[in-house]
Amino acid sequence: MILFYQTKEGGFPMIEVNNLSKSYSNTPILKNVSLTLNSNRIHFIMGRNGSGKTTFIKCLLGLEHYEGTITYGGKVLEDVRKGIFAIFDDIPLYNDLNGFQNIRLMLSDKKFFDKNYIAELGLLSDKKLKENIKNYSLGERKKLALIAAILNNPKYLIIDEISNGLDIETLETLREKLNVLRQNSLILATGHHFEFYESIIDELLVLNAGTLTYISDYRKGGDKLYEIYKQYIASGK
């Protein structure tokens, strides 16, 4: 049985973005983006390569300067940092440490570290986790980041292109774990692997030409993500 750690504070606050703009060398990437991301939902941002999906994530995480405001349940980033967990597409890890040691460094509080719970998750074996990270495949690195995310039980989980390079079994595990994480977190994901996200996302956002469009009740129309992509992005609307 998998048990979740309870966060210290109750509630799962929303993210409010107001007039967010970001440019690189006078080239606007995001133009006056305003939106609300809701609690206990998996939000998916689709867009072309270079459309600004990662830039949007960087702004949300405070890794880049931007114009506009972003609040987290009415609070500024500084007040909620410990409740945020991000999984980046390249899964940066300390190559001279083993899996367990990397997990410990990824936790916001070392008391979240629990070897029995990690074993219960069944994502990576004890033997594998004792190995140096250099010997990990991309899929194993992603599983490791997922373990750390689950242990952290964050209020906000931001995942950038996590499904790339994963085999079918791992994708199935990832889908299952994200569904569990959704119960406690606001999740924002980006990627191009539409078949994977199709069944788990609650909200859809389309990023095109610096504008982020919220597609309300996209499921009601019965359209698949790929069709929506074609409709909003590939056609140049």
């Binding site: 405070g62 300067h65 991000a86």
Partner: protein, 316 residues
């Protein structure tokens, strides 16, 4: 308070990484090696000095000179063309041997270990180590992950604090090790040399061990700040490493207010440099100006460091 807790948390994680990746072990190994090398050097110095004294004494005896009287005579020493000229070679050798014996005594070992380690080795070792700690998150591309959980100021201060803790911890360990080592080496020397025949209380530490430890800490800390700041600003460990090596080992002292001269000036106030390491004679300086210049450099480095961190993208 929240910020202090965050800084301590960052420092804790940094120390965990440095420990698990065996960087602290490597650091300790290097320092212990130098410490053992120092103890062996002190031991060999006693033996060499004793052999030289015996040879000189033999020459005196062969020439019918009274040894006791010769040792009571004054010894005038002066330097000519980089050579030491002495009016009383026997007394000179006697004093050299007495100093070598005294250097190995536990009461003096901490002081001369600091002299030997701090001014050349530790400044370089900890300066480079600080540059490593400042940059390894860039190398592993983990800096963006770290920056999600903590702000730039807390990360920088946490990293710096971890280096200071490592520096203090390893130095204390090495000094205790050398102190204990002197209890082992001393009996070995006593078995080979009649040390009781060569007792002169030469060492006179006007300021005691505390100012020596304090100055050593400040000197290493200065190099830590330099290595850390340059490493972080340039996201490079190589550049501060080359810079510190060139500055420390190859570039001559550039003037009275060159930091090495300032350090030499203050170190001569609290250390005697009568053991294995002799610090060069400094040019005279205005003490207040020397301190202000050092402080100003550290402050400027911090200002640039925090400005760069604030302006630069943390996604790297």
């Amino acid at each position: 308070m929240k910020s202090i807790n965050n800084i301590l948390q960052v420092a804790n994680k940094e120390l965990y990484y440095q420990w698990c990746s065996k960087k602290i072990a490597i650091l300790l190994f290097i320092l212990l090696f130098l410490s053992i090398f120092h103890l062996i050097g002190l031991h060999n110095r006693v033996i060499t000095s004793y052999n030289r004294y015996q040879r000189t004494e033999m020459t005196y005896r062969e020439n019918g000179i009274d040894i006791v009287k010769a040792l009571e005579q004054p010894n005038n020493v002066y330097v000519e063309n980089n050579s030491k000229i002495t009016s009383n070679p026997l007394k000179d050798d006697f004093i050299s041997l007495a100093i070598a014996i005294q250097s190995l005594k536990p009461r003096n070992i901490i002081s001369n270990t600091l002299e030997y380690l701090v001014f050349v080795f530790c400044t370089l070792i900890f300066g480079i180590y600080a540059a490593y700690v400042a940059t390894y998150d860039f190398r592993f591309k983990t800096y963006k992950f770290v920056s999600v959980g903590d702000n730039q100021r807390d990360i920088i201060l946490g990293k710096l604090l971890s280096v200071i803790i490592t520096m203090t911890g390893t130095m204390v360990f090495v000094l205790i090790f050398t102190f204990i080592g002197s209890f082992i080496v001393n009996p070995i020397v006593v078995a080979k040399v009649p040390v009781k025949d060569f007792t002169i209380d030469i060492f006179n530490y006007e300021y005691g061990i505390i100012p020596q430890l304090f100055l050593s800490f400040i000197v290493i800390l200065f190099y830590v700040i330099v290595g850390f700041s340059i490493g972080f600003i340039l996201k490079s460990m190589l550049i501060p490493t080359i810079g510190l090596l060139l500055y420390g080992l190859f570039i001559p002292v550039l003037g009275a207010y060159d930091f090495r001269n300032i350090i030499s000036y203050f170190s001569h106030q609290v250390f005697t440099f009568t053991a294995r390491f002799v610090m060069f004679k400094p040019m005279p300086i205005n003490e207040v100006l020397g301190i202000l210049l050092t402080l100003a450099t550290a402050v400027i480095l911090f200002v640039v460091l925090f400005t760069v961190a604030k302006k630069r993208s943390a996604y790297s």
